[in-house]
Subunit: 105 residues, 5 copies
Amino acid sequence: MFIGEVIGTVVTTRKTDNMQSLPLRLVRRLTTDNIPTAVYVVAVDVIGADEGERVLIASGSSARQTDLTDARPVDAIIMAIVDHWQVDNQTVYSKFAFQPDEISG
Amino acid sequence: MFIGEVIGTVVTTRKTDNMQSLPLRLVRRLTTDNIPTAVYVVAVDVIGADEGERVLIASGSSARQTDLTDARPVDAIIMAIVDHWQVDNQTVYSKFAFQPDEISG
Amino acid sequence: MFIGEVIGTVVTTRKTDNMQSLPLRLVRRLTTDNIPTAVYVVAVDVIGADEGERVLIASGSSARQTDLTDARPVDAIIMAIVDHWQVDNQTVYSKFAFQPDEISG
Amino acid sequence: MFIGEVIGTVVTTRKTDNMQSLPLRLVRRLTTDNIPTAVYVVAVDVIGADEGERVLIASGSSARQTDLTDARPVDAIIMAIVDHWQVDNQTVYSKFAFQPDEISG
Amino acid sequence: MFIGEVIGTVVTTRKTDNMQSLPLRLVRRLTTDNIPTAVYVVAVDVIGADEGERVLIASGSSARQTDLTDARPVDAIIMAIVDHWQVDNQTVYSKFAFQPDEISG
């Protein structure tokens, strides 16, 4: 998995029958220091994440291991909402606390 | 999935038996700001997208989760046609409205 | 899938039992403008492509969706031979016609 | 697989039902010379690795081939803890011995 | 698949139960001109390759299509030992003959 930030939403019209009504979110990949990158993915949101939240993205066939996405043409899902993470025993990001924007990597 | 633009068509002669009559489209990857990249994929079009339309590409085994592509050697499909998408609550692209060609990323 | 050019052949001695007698070709990835790249793959040729031909490569588990490669440790196959392709309604490559070597991308 | 170093932990709140109680570790990819890179993955730790340990990461559907991760939306696991490795018959890293920080590649 | 050179061995202590006793080799990716790159993989050696030998690496779920690796968390195997390969009808590498170190790509 990788850590991403929910930055937007994609709305589709015509789609494969078995994809009706699945919410699609734009997720930007973050570094372990919580710095945005240019890498993004369009993921099915199976848990209801809000804009700006840090999430974990599962990719490939693993994205189909949920009731919502089973047997559907989905290659990425938001599988968890991140509360906080630590690198070298320092908190890089915490949802409910001070969040340093940059930490020297 | 990622957002792409349909830029062309690939016609094949000899192919594996179970690939007969599947439409193959050239799709160029776009950034979240709707800017073209050099990355492309040849995808099976299971929904009928037109040249220039923005679409979502599903890759890997997920590309076989449709009636048309089930059990076929297909690793990418057009699984949806994009109507519009938003980043940071701003509309980056809308199929039926003003489309900024470039947005500072 | 991606568009590649068959540039060579790989001959192996010892290999896994279920890989005996599968033809292995070296395939160089091409851009949508038919320009060679440094990216290559060793693919099982399930349809009989000749040196210099443009082909489509299917990767991952999709490469096992043929009678020849079913249940074998194969992650790439030549799944079709390209006759021609178009970008923005211009023919970039055609097997039996004039082939521009470079088109400004 | 690739060689990584366990550098941190990710704690999630809301997650897919079948992901409850799986430990998530931040793992930084290393070169064969034991030099850190910017590439990282969030992996499920199925064997109990400590911070700073060198581990092997298995990715994709292979990450589901354990009792803990079977049928779960997991695309990366720590599948082994590295004791030592050699390149060109020289020990690059050994868990219980002198560890050169840099070896010219 | 891609062409690699066996450059070393990885020894693990604790690992998932179903990974006991599988030989793990360090394999460096080569270009089609037999030039080493910085890309590497840790692969399960299912056929017994020696240091310095050129091998073919199969990745992803395809790596589990052997008796040794079936249903195990393995995402890369050495699936064949290369005898020789040709590019544009020139022999780039041959196990038992003169081997040019560099060929202008």
